[in-house]
Amino acid sequence: MTETFFNLTWLIPLFPLAAFAIIVLWTNRHRLLSTWIAWIGIGLAWILGWIVFFQAWGGFEELTPPTHKYPVPLFSIPTGTTSLNLGFQVDTLTGVMLFMVPFVCLMIFIYSKGYMNYGTKDVDPRYSRFFAYISLFACGMLGLVVSDNFLTLFVFWEIMGLCSYLLIGFWFDKTYPDPKRITPKEAGLKAFLTTRVGDVIMLAGMLLLYSQVGSLTFSDVFSQETLEQLAHTYAWGNVPWATFIALLFFGGAVGKSAQFPLHVWLPDAMEGPTPVSALIHAATMVSAGVYLVARSFPLFVAVEGGSQLAVVAFIGAFTAIFSSTIAVAQNDIKRVLAYSTISQLGYMIAALGIGAYVAAVFHLITHAFFKALLFMGSGSVIHGVEHGHHHSHHHATGPEGHEEEGEFDANDMMNMGGLLRRMPVTGWTFIVGALALTGIFPWAGFWSKDEILADAWKTFQEGGHFGVTANWGFFVWLLLTIAAFLTAFYTGRQIFLTFAGKPRTAAAEHAPESVPSMTWPLVILAAFATLLGLAGTPWANQFFEMIGESAVILGERLAHGEFNLVIALVSSGVALAGWVVAWLIYGFRPLTVPVDPLRRPLGPIYTLLENKYYFDEIYQAGIVRPAIRLAQACYTFDDKVVIDPIVDGVGRFGRWLSDWLRRAVDNPIVDGAVNGVGRVTTWFGEFMRATQTGKVQNYLLVAAVTVFLLVALYVFRTYLPDWLSALGLG
C-alpha cells in the first residue's frame, strides 16, 4: 500500500478550521448552511482520518526509524543560527487517535443539530456560532494528534483550551437565582484558568526541553541518544533532566485531563451545552492530557526507576478513586458523568504510571466512545425533561404547574425517574453505555479496563518494567478495583434514578423522545461501545499489534499483561456487586421523594462528598482570595501609598523648592531690582507716552535726530582731542 495519503494528513485539521472561518465570517446568519458547512468540514476530516488510520494499520514496513513516522516539516522559524521546524507526522498512535477523534466529533456534530433545537421556536440564538466553535475545537484536537513536535502540539492544545472556554461559557447570559450556583461564564473562566496553570507548567517543561535538546520535534527528542543524554544530565542534585521535564509535562496533563489537584474545573464545565460536554469534556480534549503522556512516554521511561512514573501512577490511581467517591453523592446527571470521566482518566494515567502503555491508549479509545454516548444520552434526557417541563408548564391546570420558572433544574436526577418508558432509544443506549463503562462482559469497557487491571496485577506478581516496583502494581490494582466497584455503584444509581421507577415530576412525566438527529448518533455509538472491545481481546489483540509498534523504541520492555482469568473474574464480580448494591438502594424500591436514601446513614460523610471535599472552597480561600487581596495591596502600594506618592512627592518638592526660591530669593532681591526697574520704566513710559503721536513723520524725525546724534557722537569722539588741542586745552 502506498503512503500517499500520509502526505495529506495535515489537511485533516484544516477542514474544520475552514468550516470555522466560513461560518464566522460569512454564514453566521444562515443556520442550515452553517450546520452543513460544519458537517462537511468534519465529514471530510473523518474520511481522510480513517483513510490514514487504515493505512497506518497496514503498517510502515519500509520506513525507518520505526517510531515516528512520516515527519514532514511545514515551515520553520529562525532562531539565531538555527531554526525551529514545525510539521506533522503520522504514526500508529496518531492513527488510532485519527480513528476515534473525527468519528466521535462527527457523531456529536450531528447530534448538536437536534440538541440546539434547529427548526423549532426554541432554537438557540447563537446556533451558528456553536457550530463554528465546535469546528474550531475539532481543528484543535485533530491538529494536536497530527503534530510532529511539542510546539504545535501546545498550540493546538491551547486552541482547545480557548474553545473549551468559549463553549462552557456558551450560554454566558445565563444566571441562576441561587447565588452560590456557578454560572456558565464563571465555569468557563474557572476551566480556562485552572487548565492554564497546568499549561504554564507544561510550557516551562517544553522550554526546558527545548533548551536542553535544541529541538522540539518528536523524532529528535525521542532519539536514543537524546534520551540517554537527558537521563544522565542533571537539573540539580540527582534529579535528571528527563525526570524533571517529564514531571513538568505531567503538570500539563494533570490540568487538561482534570487530575487531582487540578480536577476542579471539569465538573463545573458541565454548565456548557451537553454536546460540548460530550465532545470536549469526555471524549477528546480531556484525553489530550493522556495523549500527551503517551506521546512523551519515552521521556517518562528514559530514567529507569525514576520518581516520575511513581508520581504519575499515584496521581492517576488516587484520582480514580477520589473522584468516584464524589460521583456517588452527586445529583446532577452530568456532574456524575463528569466525575466518572475524571475517574476513568485516572485509570489511564495510572496505567501509564505502571508502564501499561497499550492498555492506557486502548482505554482512552474505548472510553471516548462510551463516554460520549453517555453524555449525549444524558443530554437527550435533559433535553427531554426540559421540553416536558415547558410542556407541563404551559398546559398544566393542576397545582404542579406552579413551579417557579428558573427554579426547576432539568439536570437534577431527583426530578426524573421512569424515563425508560418515555424515551426508549435514549434509555437503552444509555444503559449500553453504562454497561460498557462499568466493565461488564463483553462490552468495550470490560476489555480495556481489564487489561489495565491485569497489567497492574502482573506488575505486582512479576515486578514492573521501567523500574516500577511491584508494590506500586498492587497499590494501583487495589485502588482501581475499588474504583471499579464505585463506578458500577454510581452508574447503577444513575440508571435507576433516571430511568427506573415512576416519574417524580410533571416534567419527567411529559418528557418526549428526542429527534432522530439526536438518537441516531446514540445508536451508532452504542454499537461501537459494544463491539470496539473486540479489537483488543487477549486472543486477537489487533490493538496491541498496532500500538505496540509505535512504542518499539521502548524495546522489549513494554508491558503487556496476558489475560488473567482470576483478575477478570474479580473485576467483573466487583462491578456486578456495584450494580447489585445500587439496585438494592435505588432500584428495588424506587424513590418517590427527591431525597437520597444514603444521606441519612452516611451523615457528614455524605455532606463531605456532596460538597466535593470542599475543594472549591479551599481553593477559593487559599488561592483566589489571597491573589485578589495581593492584587489590591499591589495597587494600593502603587497608586496610593508608595510609588506614585513618591513621584508626586518629587514633583511637589520641585514646586515647593521653586516656591521657596521665589519667596526667599526672588521676591526681595531679584524681584526688588526688577520691580525698581519696572517702576522707573513706568514713569519713563508715562513720559514717553507723550511722544507717541501716532504720526509717522514724528517718528521719522526722531529717527533722523538719532542718526544725526550718532554721527555727531562719532565726530566728537574722533575729533574732540584735536579741537581741544587746537584750543590749547589738550
Binding site: Q692, T693, G694, K695, V696, Q697, L700, L701, A704
Partner: protein
C-alpha cells in the same frame, strides 16, 4: 579722474539731506514718497562713486550690483507706497499723513 570722489560724496550728502527734509516735512503722502526716492538716489550715487574710485581696481562690480538691487527695492517701495496712498485716498478722501494716526489708539 577729473572729478574727485569727495565731490560726489558732498553732492550725495546734500541730495540725501534734501530728501530727508522733504520726507520729514511734506504733508502729502506722495510727496513724502518722493523724498524717500531722493534719499535712495543719494545712496546710489555714493555706491557708484565708491565703485568707480575704489573698487574698480579690484575689477569687481559690487557697487553696480548693489545699485541695481537698490533700484529694485525703490521700485517695489514706490509701487506699494503709491498703492497705499491710493487706497488711503479712496477710503478716507485724503492723502495727508498728518491725518493718519491710527497707530495711536
Amino acid at each position: 579722474m577729473d572729478v574727485p570722489l569727495s565731490w560726489y560724496l558732498v553732492v550725495a550728502a546734500a541730495l540725501f539731506c534734501i530728501g530727508l527734509a522733504g520726507a520729514l516735512s511734506r504733508r502729502n503722502a506722495i510727496a513724502v514718497l518722493m523724498g524717500v526716492e531722493l534719499m535712495l538716489n543719494a545712496v546710489n550715487v555714493n555706491l557708484l562713486a565708491f565703485w568707480r574710485h575704489v573698487e574698480v581696481v579690484k575689477a569687481t562690480l559690487s557697487g553696480q550690483a548693489f545699485a541695481i538691487i537698490v533700484i529694485t527695492v525703490a521700485a517695489a517701495e514706490a509701487a506699494v507706497g503709491l498703492a497705499l496712498a491710493i487706497a488711503l485716498y479712496r477710503t478716507r478722501r485724503t492723502v495727508d499723513v498728518e491725518d493718519v494716526d491710527l497707530m495711536k489708539l
